[in-house]
């Protein structure tokens, strides 16, 4: 195939997806970018160009900085935990573990159950006095604790829910990747006398790298866009202890109806995520073992 034919082929194959993306993602995203340089239109008062005013407001907004720092810790703890657990789970249910069907379903439940319902169920787990956690801990004589109602434990409690959700989700993709690996590799390695750990580190892990890159990029993005369970469980409280960036944007956009300021925050979030994605690609894509 000539080079130009290749180009034409590629572009044609991309066309339908790109057209839909342009219509329903890029156009609104560009509109959002434009809104961020304008004031919020309110009824008869239409939007006027205000330059960087919304961004300046953001610098002086203590809740924004708190949300950013909350989000940083949230990402730092939940991403490695979810990825490690998901890999572990996938390895188990890829093998011949007893009760594999049940375990697969168990690990997959976070993806099947709607987040609003799940958040309500987790609220029961965390309820003081008679919640599940309290019932279990109480049996060991531990004192009662208000998990979601104190500033020190609210965010960790939300993190646990997130890890539960994310690990189960990523497990699927690791499992699919493990499934498409040829068993011949393991047999060959076993003949050469490689240990199990050695095989995992030297063969499985590198072969999983494309999936890991995929999972990592998604994990980072998700760490900045989880919001459903916060809406139900804490609404960002107590006193913004669980306010994450997207939750704060949601609050500004759909409670305060300050679309311009929400647009500015969205742009900041997009910039953060874009840079993180770029870093991950720059760093990992070269190391990923594609064939």
């Amino acid at each position: 195939m000539t080079r130009t034919a290749q180009w034409a082929y590629a572009w044609l194959m991309l066309l339908p997806a790109m057209a839909l993306l342009a219509l329903f993602t890029h156009y609104p995203a560009a509109a959002t970018a434009w809104h961020s340089f304008n004031s919020t239109p309110k009824g008869a008062r239409s939007a006027v160009f205000v330059g960087l005013d919304n961004y300046r407001q953001l610098v002086d907004d203590p809740v924004f900085w708190q949300a950013l720092s909350n989000n940083f810790w949230f990402a730092l703890y939940t991403i490695p935990a979810s990825i490690a657990l998901s890999l572990l789970m996938a390895t188990w249910v890829n093998g011949k573990v007893a009760g594999r069907g049940f375990l697969r379903l168990a690990y997959f439940t976070p993806t099947i159950l709607p987040m609003i319902a799940v958040a309500n169920i987790w609220m029961f787990f965390y309820t003081p006095e008679y919640g599940l956690l309290e019932q279990v801990l109480g049996a060991f004589g531990a004192p009662s604790h208000n998990w979601l109602g104190s500033k020190s434990t609210a965010l960790p409690a939300i993190m646990v829910v997130t890890v539960w959700k994310e690990a189960g989700f990523f497990m699927i993709f690791y499992l699919a990747a493990l499934q498409s690996m040829s068993p011949n590799l393991a047999e060959a390695a076993a003949i050469e006398g490689a240990s199990r750990w050695h095989f995992f580190r030297r063969v499985t892990l590198p072969l999983l790298m494309p999936t890991t890159l995929f999972v990592l990029v998604n994990a980072v993005i998700n760490a900045f866009r989880m919001v459903d369970h916060i809406v139900v469980m804490t609404r960002g409280g107590p006193d913004n202890a669980t306010a994450l960036l997207l939750y704060y944007i949601y609050e500004i956009g759909f409670r305060f109806w300050d679309s311009a300021y929400a647009a500015a925050l969205t742009m900041v979030l997009l910039a953060i995520l874009g840079l993180l994605a770029l870093a991950q690609f720059g760093f990992l894509e070269r190391r990923v073992h594609y064939r």
Partner: protein
């Protein structure tokens, strides 16, 4: 299929125990949902094995919304979205994975933008677009913004990139055009990934709520989550019995589908790998 590196003896027992420990922890919310949905409210916080079973919660939940019609809509929605996604995503991922063309990096970055921007932010603009297209209050409008899925394109690009080049070249030597290569080599090899993607996509759209609520008005176009939401109203506190019953009611088809399809995870390699 045997795995040479499956553990044996004591390590195996420990691993099985650990896998089950995690399994029990992970299934806990679902288990709680089952317990609570089948018992009356006073047992929603008390786990007594002798507690009497009841279907009352399901009866109340079913009566609160036209669930039968909502199920039809949801099935139509997820089928339509998944079918469109599979086609669009496969073509785009193939282009990104195996074609050299100007603007590839930039276009891929543009695709990833969809991953990073949250759908909620786009609601107002997309609502306006749907109104312009005259699609408000239709199932198509619920699904259209999701049909080009960055998540799917990225996932399949990663998968297609791991397909050995030799297989690709062998097929070309046999005289296959690019689309035939895609269909005969790449798609079969990626079957487990397609399955994973299908499960995730269907689950997501089955449970998606805010956009469908806003873009639809009539019973004829609303999905099942809109019926579920009626019970999450918090003015008078959480009624776990009815929430869990409604949740099980709406997600039962997904649970059953997963139980059926999870077996495919084993067979797909056999079929795909031996080509």
């Amino acid at each position: 299929m045997t795995h040479v590196y499956d553990s044996r003896g004591i390590p195996r027992a420990i691993e099985t125990a650990a896998a089950w420990l995690l399994g029990v922890l992970w299934v806990l919310p679902l288990a709680y949902a089952f317990w609570t949905a089948f018992h009356s409210g006073e047992y929603s916080t008390r786990f007594v094995l002798s507690a009497p079973l009841t279907l009352d919660n399901f009866v109340r939940a079913w009566a609160a919304a036209p669930f039968a019609r909502y199920f039809v809509n949801t099935v139509l929605l997820v089928t339509m979205v998944l079918a469109a996604q599979l086609v669009l995503v496969t073509l785009a991922a193939y282009a990104f994975a195996r074609f050299e063309f100007p603007g590839r990096g930039l276009l891929f970055a543009l695709v990833l933008v969809q991953l990073m921007i949250m759908p909620d932010v786009l609601i107002v603009e997309n609502y306006r677009t749907m109104a312009l297209l005259g699609l408000n209050d239709t199932i198509v409008a619920v699904g259209l913004p999701y049909m080009a899925s960055a998540f799917g394109i990225f996932l399949l690009r990663q998968t297609f990139k791991t397909v050995p080049r030799e297989l690709d070249e062998a097929a070309r030597i046999e005289g296959c055009g690019p689309l035939q290569v895609l269909w005969k080599v790449y798609v079969p090899l990626a079957r487990p990934v397609y399955l994973a993607y299908a499960l995730v996509s269907v689950s997501y759209h089955w449970n998606n709520f805010l956009w469908p609520l806003i873009i639809t008005n009539s019973v004829e176009s609303r999905p099942v989550t809109v019926g579920l939401q009626v019970f999450s109203a918090t003015d008078q506190g959480i009624d776990w019995s009815i929430i869990t019953a409604a949740t099980l009611l709406t997600t039962a088809p997904l649970l059953v589908a997963f139980l059926l399809f999870q077996r495919q995870f084993v067979q797909s390699f056999m079929r795909a790998g031996i080509r």
